[in-house]
Symmetry: C2
DNA sequence: TCCCAAATCTGAAACGTTACAGGTAGGCTA
DNA sequence: TAGCCTACCTGTAACGTTTCAGATTTGGGA
């Protein structure tokens, strides 16, 4: 067998090509660079470069290689790429398994997938239970290098995960904002605007004693936004705020119902209520009605929702939509761009209740 | 430098070890087998085997290696394993992005994750839109070898995906059954029992003209199960079945509501209704009430639900719970065992309405 | 005629892992 | 003593990709 024998250029048999021939795809094996190299009579290196349009490869060769690749349905082996380059082509969605606000998770997943489906990226989901440290999945992903980017929610004003990821230079985007002087990609629903508009619409209905079901806990940023918008609305309107103690949006639905019944049977009961979650709203209504009151007459209720269930539930509820699917799309776009090197400050976006409302249809 | 010089056994410097020393972890690099090999003064091969308790490695060595590995927090590199063995350590959940029955997706995801979190497996989600061929994501996964196992839903009696995966020998588990003579792992909610029990509970309330909101389409298996259980209940009870035409469980909520209003305003209106989805039930109620009728008085409604919203919505609705999280756990366990080689027939399970009811609390 | 640069292409090495085919030492049997 | 078996460990190669450092050819300038 002539190794590197100086025949004419066209017939020369390089080692790489010989090698490719030796391991020629017996039948229906998944094609690799080697397969293409053999078919094209080129070296593996050349094929690799030709497929990514490298400038040092002749145009004719590129066309030829790309044609072959398309014809035989070549798909780069993810493990090979990942091992060599460290690039995983994976985005990880990290979320809290407990606090599932109706439809939030699924819509988020679908929104993200919509964007990723046009890229080589895959989506993995990494839930963590409440009893565990929220940092745990994050650390796992970073330490094992199992994703190129992370999307996470339930952001806190001073968020340990944001700090950790920033320090480690791992691209990420958060559903929700922070207040720690770190510029990072985020998408958020403007919950302050929502709470403010909610109060205003209650005022417009003549309600004067207004209450709000609090967000998950002051440690989650959007709870503060809600609070701020609520207070501003109350202050501007000169109305009275009634405090709802003992429950918040993450409390179990039955507890919310029971407590609400208590409150609405009490002497200082509110006549207008703001709620930031569709499922909690349903429990609130159950409590209100158990106290013998009627939505739209004795009390008005404004709620945010991410699926269109509330309209059917009680048409009297005033509803603002949060398009979580849209949020998923925004967040996916943001991480991808962050991975590509875009400045974080260009990857921060807000959704407003009104816009969403149109958007959602 | 002495290569393979015959010093004493204890001091011998093998090539692998020298090599490991050459690339010794500068600082805080992720440890690999090489790192451990260097620290233990062993070859990479030995370390690899020691970590998987191979019989040809001395017990003392195994202990030593495993101790080092634990101490320095060794995690096998997934890309390395995958490239070498073809094992991805990934389970892919393939689902339809459109027909989201309230909470189904998220609960499924959480259930699966619960099981996978105790294994090296990651979960990726691959949604497909209705306009696309359901086979497309399946083919993609198989062709690119991007998962070791697949979980999918919306199974059809004669399911092309089931056939394809079986032919290709790819482990999978389905949420729902097929009727094509292929034994494969599945988990299913017994919708026939549900429909049957639903009819019986309506009969027990004295209802005589009973209707059912159909499943997605006869092409999805569980629609047939519903139909079967429904017919059996009707026949046994000697009641009358009222046909609901024009809508099914996947129809948009507003269409369901409108059509329901029509039907309930008609002359031949049913006095008992069976519904297999929580969100559809809400739309049904909206339609019923728009026709001026009252649930629990003029009509009774039985519905399946996968989140506990309906009780709060109208306590009069008779509810059966489907624990989708449990289904997720079952399906995850099933694929894992299938991957391990368990006979498919041992990986088929059903959930019954009653059992679930207890289970769900 | 000779040399150089540009244009294309190439092989070897490496990423981390595992399978395969040894290798060596020590003890046992004949 | 030789031969063999067992217990334990080792190096090499390979999975598919990309990077690095050349090779080779061609054309042009001196």
């Amino acid at each position: 067998m002539a190794l590197d024998s100086p025949l004419t250029m066209k017939n020369k048999t390089s080692n790489q090509i010989l090698e490719a021939a030796a391991t020629a795809p017996a039948e229906a094996e998944r094609p690799t660079l080697k397969t293409i190299a053999f078919m094209a009579g080129l070296g593996v290196t050349t094929v690799s470069r030709a497929l990514k349009d490298a400038p040092e490869i002749g145009q004719a060769t590129k066309n030829r290689v790309q044609l072959i690749a398309k014809q035989i349905g070549y798909r780069p082996n993810r493990a090979g790429v990942r091992l060599r380059t460290g690039k995983t082509n994976v985005i990880s969605l990290v979320l809290n398994a407990q606090s599932e606000i109706m439809g939030l998770t699924s819509n988020m997943v679908y929104g993200i997938s919509e964007i990723l489906s046009q890229t080589p990226y895959h989506l993995t989901v990494t839930p963590y239970s409440v009893e565990n440290d929220p940092m745990q999945p994050i650390r796992y992903i970073v330490e094992t290098g199992s994703a190129d980017g992370i999307i996470m929610s339930r952001t806190e004003p001073n968020d340990a995960r944001v700090r950790y990821l920033t320090e480690h230079g791992i691209p990420f985007a958060t559903h929700g904002r922070t207040e720690m002087g770190i510029e990072h990609p985020f998408h958020d629903f403007d919950n302050e605007a929502f709470a403010y508009l909610s109060v205003r619409s209650l005022l417009a209905k003549g309600r004067r004693k207004i209450a709000m079901l609090a967000g998950p806990s002051p440690s989650v940023t959007y709870s503060r936004h809600l609070e701020r918008g609520f207070s501003r609305g109350i202050a501007e309107g000169g109305a009275g705020a009634v405090t709802v103690s003992g429950i918040e949006v993450d409390t179990s639905l039955s507890r919310i119902r029971d407590r609400m019944e208590e409150i609405m049977s009490g002497s200082n009961r509110p006549d207008g209520i703001v709620c930031c979650s569709g499922s909690a709203a349903i429990a609130l209504v159950a409590g209100i009605e158990a106290a013998g009151l009627k939505i739209g007459e004795d009390v008005d209720l404004v709620s945010k929702q991410s699926t269109d269930v509330l309209q059917w539930f009680r048409p009297q509820i005033i509803v603002f939509n949060e398009d979580v699917r849209h949020a998923g799309r925004e967040l996916a776009r943001a991480v991808l761009k962050r991975i590509a090197g875009t400045d974080p400050r260009e990857l921060q976006s807000l959704s407003y209740p009104d816009e969403n409302r149109r958007d959602a249809l």
